[in-house]
Amino acid sequence: MQSMPGRDGAPALQVVGLTKTFGGIVALDKVDFTAHSGEVHALLGENGAGKSTLIKVLTGAVRGDSGEISLLGKRVAIHNPRAAWAAGIGAVFQELSLIPDLTVAQNIWFRRENRTVLHTISAAALRRRTRELFEELELPAVDPNRVVRGLPVAERQLIEIAKTISQRPRILILDEATSALSPPEVAWLLRLCKRLAGAGTTVIYISHRLAEVRAVADTCTVFRNGRHVGTKPMHELDDDQIVGMMLGRARDRLYPERTPTVTDRVFLSVRNLRHGARLRDVSFDLREGEILGMGGLQGQGQSELVLALYGIHHAQGTIEVNGRRVRIANPRDALTAGIGLALVPEDRKNQGLLLPKPIRENVVLPILSQISHLGVLDKSAERRLARGAMTQLNVVARNMDQPVSTLSGGNQQKVVIAKLLQTKAHILLLYDLTRGVDVGTKADIFQLMRDLAARGYAILFYSTDMQELIHVADRIIVVSDGTITATLEGEAMTEEHILRASIVSIGTGVAI
């Protein structure tokens, strides 16, 4: 796809010398960025590199301290999201901008529906236009009257995308828009991007998934530490070069050495676990030293399984830990039984942490009874434990008293894991821990998992990234429609097998 300059040859978007500081931290340091009409321009960089800040400035959520933004050669000032819309900039954010208590149709149109004399909004018109929009975008028919609150994240993401595109932006920004989507939906989005670019839209595509980026982008820009590192046509860069630009150093292995750590001891034995409509019948064993990967499309019962093991849901069936049957009615029971959970919730809001509270308090929260006598806290024990945990996991922070909210996303993940490791849990449930995490931290987390397995922990981890499952897990179970449709080991752990098992429905499961 050729990038086309706009009027007078001016680029669709030109950012010059943009600087933004939050408190004392410089998020953007005199950044330049240029994108052209009809171009799909990928923006890559680790978490904290400045991509999100640039997007926030472009969409008016935040104002830059200095610098210029020009659209098609004309300088613009973007003070708030409304001004950004007016300027033709539309974005699909990581924090969805759908109003939970409004319906699908209302969400898409209410800010722009043409007014009648009385400033009213016609419900029938809303419904009709929603249907037309979804047809045009090749999305399956959606019930426009459904309230957004009840919808799973993936569908909300699709609606969010539809909403943004319905505004016909000249510049479309997709910030991790595929994080919640299944492979077919991702393919649809990539096709759509190409279609829009073909019609002259500028698409700015941000993602941690290099395969996607490569499939759709014409040009690639890399940020690091708030600075613009380089811009090149996509086909001139290979993965190693990109990662090198992102990290500023030669890329280490993303995935750790696979060492044999599995023993014969079965730590966790699950039989016929059932709960509600989503979790139909799951049975599996988890051994000491084993990393068991869980795959499958989102919403097939994986979260219900994990939450049932952790006591949030009350499921039927049998759970045995170390050969003994256990009843898990709440997280306290789970922790006592030795099962711990680190979960990135669907909406990514709190990372399982108390954001305004100090790191130290977060780390010891599950084990307060261990650092207290008769209910009174032993604060020096608390500090000791917290320091140890931070060192063990290499959490980058000045001191343990700073609020967790001041840490980068990757370091926050580490605190989540540190918190988990403080407990007596030897069976670790890691749910989607690497979502939205940058390459550097991912590598740390994978290495940590392998180290823990070597020390005898049993790990069940769920990821939507098939490559991760294949390279990190010793064994993979694929969950579809509430049951395990495939158990894969060794050579059989391939993307194709995982995918096949992911879209198979109950009764025709294929075991390989």
Partner: protein, 338 residues
């Protein structure tokens, strides 16, 4: 804030030393609110005593402390509830009922106090349990539940009163309010004792830590193995018991309890907590701040009549002061939170 020559760049540099500034600002944003509240209380006191002879006399200070204790004690309960993310609007009639029932059950005598007071405390526990269960288990909004309970307690009180007359406060209870041990009124000692317990509980116990977690995020607390429901119920029990104690002491103060005597304490308890720097959404704040809030409100109420304002104007200034103080506290906390 920061006076470093070259602001560091990017997350890696955050380890280099800029974050201590922020950490201090955030942790101490709350502390600054508390200090501010004490400063205002003292400033008002000093300024008024400059213009009013006798304002700073030991007698008057004791009076102020006694008056402040009632707000302080209901504020104690409200502090726990608010930190936990809720609010308790049933304080007025728990206080009122406690006082009236005290006089009726004791008949104005000291003897029965030995069983009457535990009974009153128990009634407080009961009301707190009902509130807590409705809110934490059934998921009813705290405003509605406690508001409803306030009406229920009022109704129950009226039924109980029937044709009975409230009697006088037993002499011992009056003593508690007005007599002194050394320089301090017994009432103040009681308040001090409760304050110490509350402060220790919030800062130094597992209960306190868990309470702050629950107030910050119930979900995260639950996932971390904290038993959310009992903790929330406990806060409402603490609040009702505190209101009951306040009712007993207040009856000693007025000698003859009356219907509606608890009404002003609703506003006062919430205002004291807010002036003390605790955000009403929960998760942070401290009783030490509420004490400052109680002092501010008391000094304010005390000095306005000296300015010779009629009750209406008094109320206006009262409301404006709350507004200004809480605004100042809010802005500070926000600065620290960035």
């Amino acid at each position: 804030m920061s006076t470093m020559p070259n602001p560091p760049i990017g997350p890696a540099a955050s380890a280099a030393g800029n974050l201590p500034q922020r950490a201090w600002a955030t942790a101490n944003g709350r502390h600054r609110s508390i200090v501010l509240a004490y400063f205002i209380a003292i400033a008002m006191f000093v300024i008024t005593s400059a213009f009013t002879p006798g304002f700073a006399s030991p007698t008057h200070i004791k009076e102020l402390l006694i008056e402040a204790s009632f707000i302080g004690i209901v504020g104690l309960g409200q502090t726990f509830v608010i930190i936990g993310g809720g609010v308790d609007l049933s304080i007025p009639y728990v206080l009122c009922a406690s006082g009236i029932v005290l006089t009726i059950l004791s008949g104005g005598q000291n003897g029965p106090l030995i069983w009457v007071i535990p009974v009153l405390i128990l009634l407080g526990v009961l009301v707190g349990l009902v509130n807590g269960i409705g809110i934490a288990v059934l998921g009813i909004s705290p405003i509605i539940m406690t508001l409803g309970m306030n009406v229920v307690v009022q109704g129950a009180l009226l039924v109980y009163l029937g044709s009975r007359q409230a009697s006088r406060a037993p002499p011992l209870v009056v003593d508690w309010t007005f007599s002194s041990v050394g320089p301090l009124p017994i009432n103040t000692l009681i308040w001090l004792g409760l304050a110490v317990i509350a402060t220790v509980a919030l800062s130094w116990t597992t209960f306190g830590r868990r309470l702050y977690a629950v107030g910050t995020s119930r979900i995260v607390a639950r996932f971390s193995g904290v038993n959310v429901v009992p903790i929330m119920i406990a806060t409402y029990v603490i609040c009702a018991v505190a209101a009951a104690i306040a009712g007993i002491l207040y009856t000693g103060f007025v000698a003859q309890p009356y219907l509606g005597m608890g009404d002003p304490y609703l506003f006062a308890s919430v205002a004291a907590v807010a002036v003390g720097g605790a955000p009403l959404i929960g998760g942070s704040g401290h009783y030490i701040g509420t004490i400052a809030g109680a002092l501010v409100l008391t000094v304010l109420a005390d000095l306005l009549p000296i300015l010779n304002l009629d009750p209406g104007a008094l109320q206006i200034v009262y409301g404006l002061t709350i507004l200004v103080t809480v605004a100042a506290a809010t802005v500070r906390v926000r600065e620290g939170r960035q």
